[in-house]
């Protein structure tokens, strides 16, 4: 699956996107894999919302390898 990073998360991870093969999983499983690739994301977990295919993912969402998942840190538009 493709993971997208925005705003300061790009600085933290040093990249804008990441290809992750983790099979079908839930948010917890996804975070576990993400933190293996980027442990420095751990401190942002509490403030980040997950979006699946350009929509906020509900807490019970399942994620698959074909999905585009974005980490949405607190927004500041307007």
């Amino acid at each position: 699956m493709r993971i997208l990073f925005f705003a300061h998360l790009r600085d933290v991870t040093g990249c804008a996107e990441l290809e992750l093969a983790c099979g079908e999983t839930d948010a917890d499983g996804l975070w576990r894999q993400l933190l293996v690739a980027h442990p420095e994301l751990a401190r942002f977990r509490g403030s980040v919302r997950l979006a699946k295919n350009a929509e906020y993912a509900p807490p019970d969402a399942r994620f698959g390898d074909a999905d585009e998942v974005a980490l949405i840190p607190p927004v500041s538009g307007g």
């Binding site: 040093g14 804008a16 929509e55």
Partner: protein, 592 residues
């Protein structure tokens, strides 16, 4: 409702035709959110916005559709600009057409609130006014975007994959991709961490590595001394009604009578509007709400009360009224973003109904004290041992920033330090301080342990004294300092370098810099070929800052520190300075 929603990197036009779908509307309301000339108290030239474009557009449509059920409107047009937006230009345009103004205004207001909560658009960085003027070639998103001064060390840059593929993500340029493996940070290009760095270089490097930490909302008592991250506005006019500034009698301003009938009494907290007729007065306590417009409050001491009649002994022009909105108008900014919240600001926030303030998060800190010779303060040292003073020193220093470090004493043992550095909780630590010895062996021991644990060494020694064997290193979001073990070196390094990190994490308003003062006594010193930081005590005398240098013999000297509230900066080769000399100093008694 007809919707027109998009992101653009082009300027938003100054005038725009009303959409056809708005025909029949009784109200067409336009709003432009404009980039202001300052961000967090600093003058800026531009702001850069970034968006997750497909989702941002979708989310804006979803919000508008949802709000239209509650506030039925005919049409809405929303355009959010992304990329670099100069001061004075609009970042967002919203037009709403409604049959009546009420629903159009309500929809607009609700939409802006929701946009700021849910739409994935970010203010990425501010371009300092000075940076734009001094660096015409500066690119948005470039590594040199944030600071104006030339830097010896470049900040770590992103690792690009060998074959970056074009990003499908909308928004700003610079969609770097990275390999699935951990990207991490690369050593700053061009930096040679073995070259000694000057104190200024280290401070500049630290500032460039630390951005303001994400904000959090905390109850007011916990917000003291922290940097406010959003402007707080007056929810209503302050004062919210015309109120008396004195104890006295309210009479009509145009009533020249010398005797009045007292028809009512109003104390603070009462709300008794009434029309006052000629010849009538209302007794008012300080803070009491005026019952009517066009009144004047006569001072109680300028009158004589006889039963329900009041005689005027003296009448001046002053109305003695604090008028509604005199302090602040509803919606006006009471406390700007970027303000360090003192007791007065907290009182103002409370008066405006802001019970929780959005402030920078407090950094998480870990302090490791290594050494075989140190024993806890409560233990009597055996011959050759000393009590651990650095734990108390570091804890006290961090306390003024509201930071409570996790502290551990470790034996001087590579395995023990390696284990401590592998602790998973360190991944969530912003600041890692390691107190070690000052000897070359001890210094190398700390450095090797950090390198083995995956830290990138950015500085391994300085040209300053004390504090020559300083280590600055980084792993992920953790910034580590290896502090030479002597207490005076600790004190200097904490105030010069660790403070720079705490300031940058809090926000620009927290910055404390060197300023000029006058020596209150001779400073006999041998000329030294290195820049020297000297503990001193500053005090105000006759309107001038007088600096009393404190006596110290070695960087292990603690007695000087007990009295120190400043550090003098003596340039390399300065030698003895006489009383009255002007020297630069940094206050060490300041919090944020």
């Amino acid at each position: 409702m007809h919707l027109e929603v998009r992101l653009t990197s082009d300027p938003i036009p100054a005038a725009w035709p009303v959409p056809a779908a708005a025909r029949g509307a009784g109200a067409w309301i336009e709003f432009r959110g404009v980039v202001r000339g300052e961000e967090n108290g600093q003058p800026i030239a531009a702001l850069e916005y970034e968006a997750y474009a497909p989702m941002a557009e979708r989310e804006m449509r979803r919000i508008l559709d949802e709000l239209a059920r509650e506030h039925p409107c005919l049409a809405a047009r929303v355009v959010h600009r992304v990329g670099l937006i100069p001061v004075g230009e609009a970042a967002i345009y919203v037009g709403v057409a409604g049959r009546h103004r009420a629903e159009a205004l309500a929809l607009l207001a609700a939409f802006m609130d929701r946009l700021k909560q849910d739409v994935p658009i970010w203010k990425r960085r501010a371009l300092a006014a000075a940076a734009l003027a001094g660096q015409p070639g500066t690119r948005p998103g470039g590594a040199d975007f944030q600071t104006a001064t030339a830097r010896v060390f470049n900040p770590p840059t992103a690792v690009a994959a060998p074959e970056p593929r074009p990003s499908k993500v909308g928004g700003t340029a610079g969609g770097e991709t990275c390999a699935p493996a951990r990207a991490g940070m690369v050593p700053p290009a061009g930096s040679t961490s073995d070259r000694p760095a000057s104190a200024d270089e280290v401070r500049e490097l630290v500032r460039s590595l630390c951005r303001p930490l994400e904000p959090e909302r905390v109850p007011l008592p916990r917000a003291l001394g922290r940097v406010l991250r959003e402007p707080v506005r007056a929810p209503e006019d302050l004062p919210p009604f015309d109120r008396s500034a004195v104890d006295g009698f309210a009479v009509r301003l145009d009533d020249p009578a010398e005797q009045f009938q007292v028809v009512d009494e109003i104390r603070a907290g009462d709300w008794k509007p009434r029309s006052l007729h000629p010849g009538e007065a209302v007794r008012l306590a300080t803070g009491g709400a005026l019952p009517d417009d066009g009144l004047q409050v006569l001072l109680q001491e300028d009158t004589r009360l006889e039963g329900d009649r009041v005689m005027v002994l003296r009448r001046e022009r002053a109305r003695n009224i604090r008028f509604r909105g005199e302090d602040a108008r509803a919606g006006g900014v009471l406390v700007e973003a970027g303000t360090v919240l003192g007791a007065g600001a907290l009182g103002l926030l409370a008066s405006a109904g802001c019970a929780e303030a959005l402030v920078s998060r407090v950094p998480r800190a870990v302090h490791l004290v290594t050494g075989n010779e140190i024993v806890p303060p409560e233990q009597a040292p055996a011959p050759g041992q000393i009590r651990d003073s650095n734990s108390a020193l570091v804890r006290g220093f961090l306390a003024s920033w509201g930071v409570v470090p996790v502290q551990r004493r470790l034996p001087e043992d590579a395995a023990a330090l390696a284990t401590a550095l592998e602790d998973p909780s360190l991944a969530e630590t912003d600041l890692l301080l390691i107190s070690g010895g000052a000897s070359v062996g001890r210094h190398d021991f700390t450095r090797r342990a950090l390198e083995t644990a995956g830290f990138v060494i950015l500085v391994s020694k300085t040209t300053a004294r004390p504090g020559k064997p300083l280590i600055v290193a980084q792993r992920g979001a953790t910034l580590a300092f290896g502090l030479p073990g002597n207490p005076l070196a600790h004190f200097v390094c904490l105030h010069l370098y660790v403070r720079a990190a705490l300031e940058a994490w809090s926000g620009p308003a927290a910055r404390n810099d060197f300023t000029l003062g006058t020596l209150a006594a001779d400073l006999p010193a041998e000329a030294h070929d290195r820049e020297t930081f000297w503990p001193a005590r500053w005090q105000l005398a006759g309107g001038e800052v007088g600096l009393m240098p404190l006596h110290w013999r070695s960087s292990g000297d603690l007695t000087a520190l007990a009295a120190a509230n400043a550090l003098l900066r003596l340039p390399a080769g300065a030698g003895t300075l006489g009383r009255g000399s002007r020297v630069e100093f940094l206050r060490t008694d300041l919090g944020p």
